[in-house]
Symmetry: C2
Subunit: 402 residues, 2 copies
């Protein structure tokens, strides 16, 4: 006879799922929906910039021309024309040679991270993660029970001494990086830092994941060198249309060496067969029929102004001992409070004053209480940024004198 | 110094990915694209029945009314109105009470299988699988290194004695079933069989996955009782719009008990954040603005006629010793050749005679050479079915006399 066991018992679940941190940000966002709250908490692109009319036109054209074809099951690798476009764009924009066959379309970059964890990570395999690092990557690799090796990042990039120490203990399975306008901190790796990281990784078995969802959102300066250029055999590049077209379509991609891509395709097939084919056609058609680079320039202009407004307001309203990054692109900046100050305590005061942000701790793999926080500048207009940062400055002053 | 290792070495990959069978069907389908080949190999719904104009209308209405909202990031659980509709439909069609909060929208049912494997299966956990069983489930659970326990199915349903023997060795983690018009065999579990299976599972910790992508495609008879009705606490129900609307949108769902759904949401968030929100709105709008049940009736009428044509042709053209199932719905039937005959050998002859099918072995977890094969009747019109089955009958006769 089967043994009766309580269905609610922990034992019905896999060990891996118990290791995954719940998204603290989801909880934060629930608080921030109150319309009187000015929220710097979200991680969203600005909806005012979505090309709704152009997407509609593209959807109609795709259905008129390819109706039944685009609605049928499709291949796991993705729509060939879209993959060709991605390959061509890498060549034209970054002088990167990435054959079409090395590109797999995914349900957003997040699926790329899940598939990479799936095909690469055995339990307790070492994964270097930026500190602070992208929460979605921490979640994705936690599922596969990675042993995280945090390496601090600053406005220069990765802390080379720390990375060297980690590498000297044996090559980790992977290094996860967001070298351009990082989430959460907004920092970018300098070219010198990239070279130093590449020198440590070259000729090892370590794979470097270069997650680049924000690379096109560059406000100033020149484009820095991709790791794919420096250490092509070790680099897996992730990209996304979520920040440059729309996020809802869940369209991203992985560019990886042959053998890795082959395994990723097997994993993708088992995970969901393929990505929405209609969405792939619509995005491709949108790009083909419109001035995509012009659209990106518009996004960049708006976000640049909003970043400027935020930096100016921080200078004006924050006590001088508060440090913050000055991102050259992207959607976020990172604030460091005095050492003893808890960003969670600040959050509790700030939310009463109707301003929200994300306290820093979910971006670390092993910290519960930190003095850092993330501010988003992509979704809030300049005037509202000034009001919100003023409120936040008041909250900080209140906590400083408490 | 890091140890230089060969990047092509097997060691860079996780153990789990080496266990996943490559899709044999993908290879078969490559052969079958030759337009002179009559293919019963595909597993696709009939594209002629896709409601292209209605989908276009729905897409336009959604973009006109909710433009920016539907293009933004969205919540992991899925579009609330669509989940409400699914809940209501279960109540109206099957008298099943499934609260909206117990429904999670997934990227097709395949993602449901991946998420279930992820949250439930530790390495070597036992998973009962139908023999023959759905290839996609075998792939999805292989990723999580399940120990498969095959239980034969016939036109009655699961072999109860075998299931009882498996259960008596300790409750397996899960039982995967497609009780209505199964892929690959077309069989359905009788009500008596469902009761017997339910009796074995009730009051154990085993979870029964009831995958029901074909349930609406019923040609005759009355709807049989869902396991969700018989053993609600143990049953996880999977559904899909791929066979009733369009597959490209990758829209399915999981209905699961509270605690399991909570874990699935965490896993889904780490896997891809959420399902394409635009696609969810469009499907909901399509259903709301059109006679969805009338559309399903049209599909049923076409598939019923094609099944009839196939059964008649099998009777006419196949030697009498060849056995086959008589499905009451769905898209497939299952042929059993004489014991010594290899369906792979038959495939080699048949493809020269310009007719294709799927040899049975990928639907078993541990067999390389079998005397069974799958025929699809949803994609081929009646006249072509007659020609194709005639060709296949000739190939069988050729092999019988070889």
């Amino acid at each position: 006879m089967p043994i009766a066991r309580d269905l609610s018992a922990k034992s019905i679940f896999s060990d891996r799922i118990s290791d995954v941190p719940k998204s603290f940000i989801r909880e934060i966002l629930k608080v921030a929906v109150d319309p009187s709250v000015i929220s710097f908490a979200g991680g969203l692109p600005n909806r005012k910039l979505f090309p709704v009319a152009e997407i509609k036109q593209a959807a109609n054209r795709v259905l008129d021309e390819y109706g039944r074809d685009v609605l049928q099951y499709s291949n796991t690798e993705g729509f060939p024309e879209l993959r060709k476009y991605i390959s061509r764009r890498y060549r034209e924009k970054q002088n990167l040679q990435i054959p079409v066959d090395n590109i797999l379309i995914t349900n957003g970059s997040q699926q790329g991270l899940d598939l990479l964890g799936k095909v690469l990570l055995n339990q307790m395999d070492e994964a270097v993660i930026e500190e602070p690092g992208y929460l979605g990557a921490i979640q994705a690799f936690s599922v596969y029970r990675a042993s995280f090796q945090p390496v601090p990042v600053s406005e220069e990039g990765m802390e080379i001494a720390r990375l060297q120490a980690v590498m000297s203990q044996g090559a980790p399975k992977l290094i996860y990086t967001v070298p351009n306008f990082q989430n959460p901190s907004g920092i970018s790796y300098s070219d010198a830092n990239r070279l130093a990281v590449a020198d440590l990784v070259r000729n090892t078995s370590t794979l470097l994941i270069e997650d680049d969802p924000y690379g096109d959102l560059q406000f100033e300066g020149v484009k820095k060198t991709s790791f794919k250029k420096l250490i092509p055999e070790n680099t897996i590049l992730l990209g996304s249309f979520s920040k440059t077209v729309v996020p809802s379509f869940r369209l991203g991609w992985i560019a990886a060496p042959d053998q890795i891509l082959e395994k990723l395709v097997i994993a993708k097939q088992a995970a969901d067969l393929h990505t929405n084919n209609f969405a792939q056609y619509v995005i491709f058609r949108y790009i083909k029929d419109n001035d995509f680079n012009g659209h990106i320039s518009k996004i960049v202009a708006v976000y640049r102004n909003q970043r400027n407004a935020m930096i100016e307001s921080l200078r004006q309203y924050f006590p001088p001992e508060i440090k913050y990054t000055k991102p050259e692109g992207g959607m976020f900046l990172w604030v460091t409070l005095p050492r003893q100050m808890s960003s969670m305590k600040l959050f509790e005061i700030a939310i009463k004053d109707k301003v929200a942000f994300v306290p820093g701790h979910p971006f670390y793999v092993n910290k519960k209480e930190v003095n850092t926080l993330r501010l988003n500048f992509s979704c809030v207009d300049e005037e509202t940024i000034r009001i919100g940062i003023n409120r936040l400055g008041q909250a900080i002053k209140q906590l400083l004198t408490a």
